[in-house]
């Protein structure tokens, strides 16, 4: 890993985090329900994009750096944009307000829809290429 890779990861991570913050902000203004919709939408769209770009540019999922695409976009931007920690914090909050069943539902739903979204991105890239 070179200094340039570190720079790409940092730059992508900063931009991705800003976009996450902004999407969360906008979603919060439009939607006022108890479902953590902002984090959910962020994670699902991020999963779609990683599946699409990885397949389109034939990036092995274990290669996280070495070029601007995998270090800046896949590791940096999408890693900064999507979030696992907020999802778990949302679940802990839901457990407090809506019960364990709803918290489990949110976690499992995010993961399954995330898998499907990643697969859709992957399949779309296959169709194109």
């Amino acid at each position: 890993m070179t200094a340039l890779d570190v720079m790409w990861v940092g730059l992508g991570g900063g931009i991705g985090s800003l976009l996450r913050w902004w999407v969360g902000h906008v979603t919060g203004r439009v939607y006022h329900g108890s479902f953590p919709l902002g984090t959910f939408l962020i994670n699902i769209t991020g999963a779609f994009i990683i599946g699409y770009l990885s397949e389109l540019f034939s990036v092995d999922w274990r290669d996280r750096y070495g070029a601007a695409l995998n270090s800046g976009v896949l590791t940096g931007f999408l890693g900064g944009y999507t979030t696992f920690s907020s999802m778990e914090l949302d679940a802990a909050k839901l457990n407090g307000s809506k019960g364990a069943g709803y918290a489990t539902y949110y976690l499992v739903l995010s993961t399954i829809i995330g898998l499907i979204a990643a697969w859709c991105g992957f399949a779309l890239a296959r169709l194109q290429g």
Partner: protein
């Protein structure tokens, strides 16, 4: 507003770089993305801790934006977690089992550590505030 933008950007950049360094330090396990799991668990624990400290006003809003939204968000990743699992699932039946166990490990351990972080920071997850009487 501009403060929040700078703090989230700087925090997210730092978090993403930290994630890469953590992942480089985690021993490589063939066919199991242990490195992403470790980064996610560290982030979830620290996010619980920062959230609790913010709620108790030990940390102010700016620090919370930088650490909670920025660093912990950049440190953890959902996209790499599901994509790694998806690729494993498409490889073979035995890898499919590993992928499901891997996702469950992320979800369950992540939940446990976020609660631990919240408790350590002095805040159990508080139920929705009760309406004030009187």
């Amino acid at each position: 507003m501009i403060n929040a933008i700078i703090l989230v950007f700087a925090g997210g950049a730092l978090g993403a770089m930290l994630r890469e360094f953590i992942m480089l330090m985690v021993p490589h396990v063939e066919g199991f993305p242990l490195d992403i799991l470790v980064a996610n668990l560290i982030a979830a624990f620290l996010l619980g801790l920062v959230t609790a400290l913010h709620k108790r006003a030990v940390l102010n809003g700016d620090v919370n934006s930088m650490l909670g939204t920025g660093v912990m968000g950049g440190l953890s990743t959902f996209s790499s977690m599901v994509y790694g699992a998806l690729i494993l699932m498409m490889t073979s039946t035995s890898d499919l089992t590993v992928a499901i166990l891997y996702l469950l490990a992320n979800l369950i351990l992540g939940y446990i550590v976020v609660i631990l972080g919240l408790k350590l920071g002095g805040d159990g997850v508080t139920p929705a505030p009760r309406p004030r009487i009187g």
